[in-house]
Symmetry: C2
Subunit: 294 residues, 2 copies
């Protein structure tokens, strides 16, 4: 009998739960809005308890900041999130004590990165980034096949980038840093700068050239610091498919021939790409986390 | 009989060669200026051939850009360097064919990072950066105990940072990017902006507050992208010891409490540090590379 794994994509807006043996064999899937921790984590536990067969491990990819360090007393907690009610919530512990199976726990973006490495757009590389551009900007990834953790986990949305105040007098929306990458280029920044949500702006609106410029500046940081072999861009803002060629072009312009890798100079269409797993990267990545833990 | 290893720190200004069994047992050491490849690589080979006992492997940490990928046809080459005469020089191949021993080859900064990990300021961490601030700015390091390579190797000096043109109308010195981190904060930028070499400027000169600000912006990129557990700052500019407290303070101000790790909030004196091996980090790191290869 095939082993069943559970996955939870614990997002700040919605939770997605799934049961699968692997990518091609999703047995059940459910999603529901993120409300209070008791209610939402309870719904996730219910979903797994209702299955006719038990899962042997559960992987959780969570919004954050989180503590993904198994040696830490607060492992599996959401820590200093600004989301009301969710500070210091022991999400992994609650799921573990209800289901009695091993729990793997990481950031939502590391889970998505792992999913793309196992089954998606990063199968042939071991040093890459998965960056999501939506309500916030967050990044995960691998270096030499190892998921990025370090001090805690990356906070790629909060990288500082040049901000031309003449071209763009907008202050930025980040409550901590103002005009960091997230403050200038996440969905709320688009909406606040232009007075309407990004998805209502036409493709030829100047918003998109500016957006591509900021995202490209962030990607240059990922390329120069990590020497990424591929960059996967997901999240709501990246559903604007016309952003991809703009961002690729802008990255080449900013690097200006300094990094003479064919991946960047010749094959940038395969270097900066959307997630091959689409919206399922997160929950499938959580399944992959569970497989590693079991 | 103890095994002897050879190390070459191949810098753009000078080469340092050493023979050792390990850190505490340096048997011979020599340094000479970097001139033409034939002459300089020849001097390195002569040094090892003159030793009474042969080395069993040689590690080379080289200025770059280089090709450190053992599977590549140009492995061990310096590639697109602007240094006249040194483009496409097969430094590892020349040393290998002269000495007939295995050669390990990496960037100068990855070698220094490895040296600090083995014997210096990064023994207790596995995800960290060694950044050198001198004639240029370059960074190496490890993630999860694995040396950073990826697409090629990091080019941390070329990360883009905010540039306040009102405070600092200087264009930057980078021929590729103008005002990237290296263009604004390496030694030549200091000299060009202020009309005198950095080491001749008094400690209370406004140059240093600006320098600390730019370096801190670069460090914020390393922290947010890599989640570094420690940052080691070496190179000629960092001999100005008064820069360390300034940079630490500026990093805390820029992060503004967002990353609530005690390493940054409480113990930043042990988070941003000079190399414990001092000027020997590079050549001892090359010895460590040789030990890994043998």
């Amino acid at each position: 009998m095939a082993k069943l794994y559970g996955g939870i994509e614990a997002g700040g807006t919605k939770f997605v739960c799934a049961v699968a043996t692997g990518r091609g064999d999703l047995r059940a899937r459910v999603q529901f809005p993120t409300t209070r921790p008791d209610e939402t984590i309870g719904q996730a536990i219910d979903f797994f308890q209702r299955q006719s067969e038990p899962v042997i491990a559960v992987g959780i990819g969570s919004f954050g900041p989180v503590d993904p360090n198994p040696a830490s007393p607060t492992f599996g907690h959401i820590t200093t999130t600004p989301k009301p009610g969710w500070q210091d919530v022991d999400i992994a512990g609650r799921v573990q004590s209800a289901l009695g199976v091993p729990i793997a726990f990481d950031t939502d973006v590391n889970a998505a990165a792992l999913g793309e490495h196992r089954w998606g757009a990063a199968q042939d590389v071991d040093t890459f980034v998965y960056l999501t551009v939506g309500t916030g900007i967050g990044g995960g990834g691998m270096v030499g096949g190892i998921l990025l953790h370090g001090l805690m986990h990356p906070e790629m949305g909060h990288v500082r980038i040049p901000h031309d105040w003449n071209r763009d007098p907008f202050n930025g929306t980040c409550p901590f840093h103002g005009d960091c990458l997230e403050g200038l280029a996440a969905g709320p920044a688009l909406a606040a700068r232009w007075g309407q949500r990004g998805e209502t702006l036409p493709d030829d609106h100047p918003a998109w050239a500016l957006e591509a410029h900021y995202l490209a500046l962030g990607l240059v940081s990922l390329i120069t610091v990590l020497s990424a072999q591929r960059i996967i861009l997901g999240g709501g803002v990246m559903r604007e498919a016309h952003l991809f060629p703009r961002v690729r072009h802008e990255v080449q312009a900013l690097l200006n021939g300094y990094i003479q890798s064919p991946e960047i100079v010749e094959w940038i269409d395969q270097y900066i790409v959307p997630p091959a797993l689409g919206d399922q990267a997160g929950v499938l990545g959580a399944i992959a986390l569970a497989q590693m833990r079991a």
